[in-house]
């Protein structure tokens, strides 16, 4: 009887372990099966390379090039904002910070990681968008600039946490050796420790890219969402993620399939970034 139970539970555990594989497989199958036919109907080059997204036109046009560009622009912008501040804060936490400040700053960074993205979006909507409109310009419904700043803030905790542990993983002997050769503390940190922690920091940045490109609810509230190729940092922009949320509610037929195909493009991008991440991680180990 006991033997019997042992065997059954072993099978149950085994099946549970298979669920995550099944989930990945199902996600791939359902996305591709529903998205790829639309890409074929529209034509893969017209879809990815087309610069007009006009589902209600006659004939309708489904070019997602503006959205691909939009995703790339806001992600790049997020990196410009988030990486320098995040990296320097990580350096501060690991090598400059007095203990009593660490006790405050570290939990603060963790708080930032816990805020839901819709709250970030709301903050961007009521603070960032009006601020940029009044002080810099633009049409006031959001732009590449506002989305970049907000996403930059959102990827801060990822970059800080990963970079800090990478910096801390560098052996103390590197630091001592450099100081012993007469370098200042700052020179040592920036010329010896940081290069040694390079791949760990890179992993953090790639993780940040993944988060920025996949972010939806915060971006939709602050990016303006015009499906056109933006001509300045103050023009509105629509990303792959927001394209799906904006129109899925009422889309039907080919339009709907084109939105799912947008999800497929996003999914493939994320898979590529994940692959890149595991390569970087393996190198840092």
């Amino acid at each position: 009887m006991v033997k019997y139970k042992e065997q059954i539970m072993k099978v149950v555990f085994f099946i549970a372990a298979l669920v995550s594989i099944a989930a990945v497989a199902l996600i791939c199958i359902f996305l591709f099966a529903n998205g790829v036919p639309a890409m074929a109907k529209i034509g893969i080059f017209n879809f990815i390379g087309g610069s007009t997204w006009a589902p209600s036109n006659e004939p309708a046009e489904y070019g997602i090039f503006p959205m691909i560009l939009g995703s790339i622009y806001v992600t790049a912008g997020a990196l410009v904002v988030g990486v320098p501040i995040g990296l320097l804060t990580a350096v501060y936490l690991a090598k400059f910070c007095p203990k009593h400040i660490y006790k405050v700053l570290k939990p603060a960074v963790e708080l930032l990681a816990g805020i839901p993205s819709v709250v970030y979006g709301f903050f961007g909507l009521v603070v960032l968008v009006p601020f940029i409109r009044d002080n810099i310009g633009g049409n006031g419904t959001g732009s590449i600039l506002t989305a970049s700043i907000l996403l930059g803030i959102m990827i801060l905790p990822t970059i800080i946490t990963v970079s800090e542990s990478a910096i801390r993983a560098v052996p103390d002997s590197y630091y001592e050796g450099s100081l012993g050769l007469g370098a200042t503390h700052e020179r040592t940190v920036f010329r010896v420790i940081l290069p040694a922690a390079k791949s760990g920091i890179l992993a953090g940045i790639v993780l940040g890219i993944g988060r920025a490109i996949g972010e939806t609810m915060a971006v939709i509230l602050v990016a303006g969402n015009q499906a056109i190729i933006p001509n300045s940092v103050l023009s509105g922009v629509r990303t792959l993620t927001t394209n799906i949320v904006m129109e899925m509610g009422y889309a039907s037929g080919l339009h709907r399939e084109a939105l799912i195909a947008t999800g497929v493009v996003l999914f493939v991008l994320i898979l590529l970034i994940n692959a890149l991440l595991s390569v970087v991680k393996r190198r840092s180990e």
């Binding site: 350096v91 400059f96 996949g214 899925m248």
Partner: protein, 307 residues
Amino acid sequence: MMAENVIETNKSNEIDVDKIKARNVQTFAQKFKQYKNHPTSLILYLLVWVAAIATMATVVFLIGYILVMGIPYINADIFSLKYTSDNCSLVPALVNTILMTLLSLIIAVPLGIFSAIYLVEYAKRGNKLVSVVRTAAETLQGIPSIVYGLFGMLFFVEALHWGYSLLAGSFTVAIMILPLIMRTTEEALLSVPDSYREGSFGLGAGKLRTVFKIVLPSAVPGILAGVILAIGRVVGETAALIYTAGAVADYPKDLMSSTRTLAVHMYNLSNEGLHTNQAYATAVVLLVLVLLINWLSSVVAKKITKK
């Protein structure tokens, strides 16, 4: 004083070299002289400080702004039992959030714990399946929530004909939090010393009994920290739920009713732009809720490391 104590309590009369920390205390004048000779160092020093202050200021401003602007609008209307488009009550959404969280935990927690048990306790060393499962879990962790939302819509809502429903939403977020629970449980199980298992086997207990009576109870705090973190993710989730659970702002009649959680409610309020005051108040409730949950998780997690 401290150093003396350390030496005195060390009975073997040897000084533990690792415990001695060199303290290069510089006076302000020395520091100033050094920076005068190395201006680049001074710039770097200032930059690092500026970045840290910027990060801190961002956190304080972001959370402070929402709290200061939102708390005045928290009133009885927001908490009335029935939702109308006038009072924008968040109570139904709150109830839905709790139901959604419970349901997704019922699905994801046993699955996550069982698969971690398989990976740690049952799979043999060098088992190919283990690395495949790990890769799958890592892939799941990297997928953005809107892709989960699309998948949930295509699979649960349409292929299984569940419609926009509590059930479809909770299955979607359950898949989303599965890798998180799996990984934290795995780590918790790995940290249970092998001597516990050997002791249990030595007393004649079988594998299953050992896992459930010895290993799992010792791993509970680690698992709990992961589960609480997962609750935080479900409560804050929006993109995965809009097209799986829908946006009906009422109490669900059954598992198949369409519902909106607090985060989706928050999104609708800010997107419509008609009820800004209520949106502020809802933002406060959502923010405080999620931060409390995350704080609880880190408290539980710290308890383990102290042990």
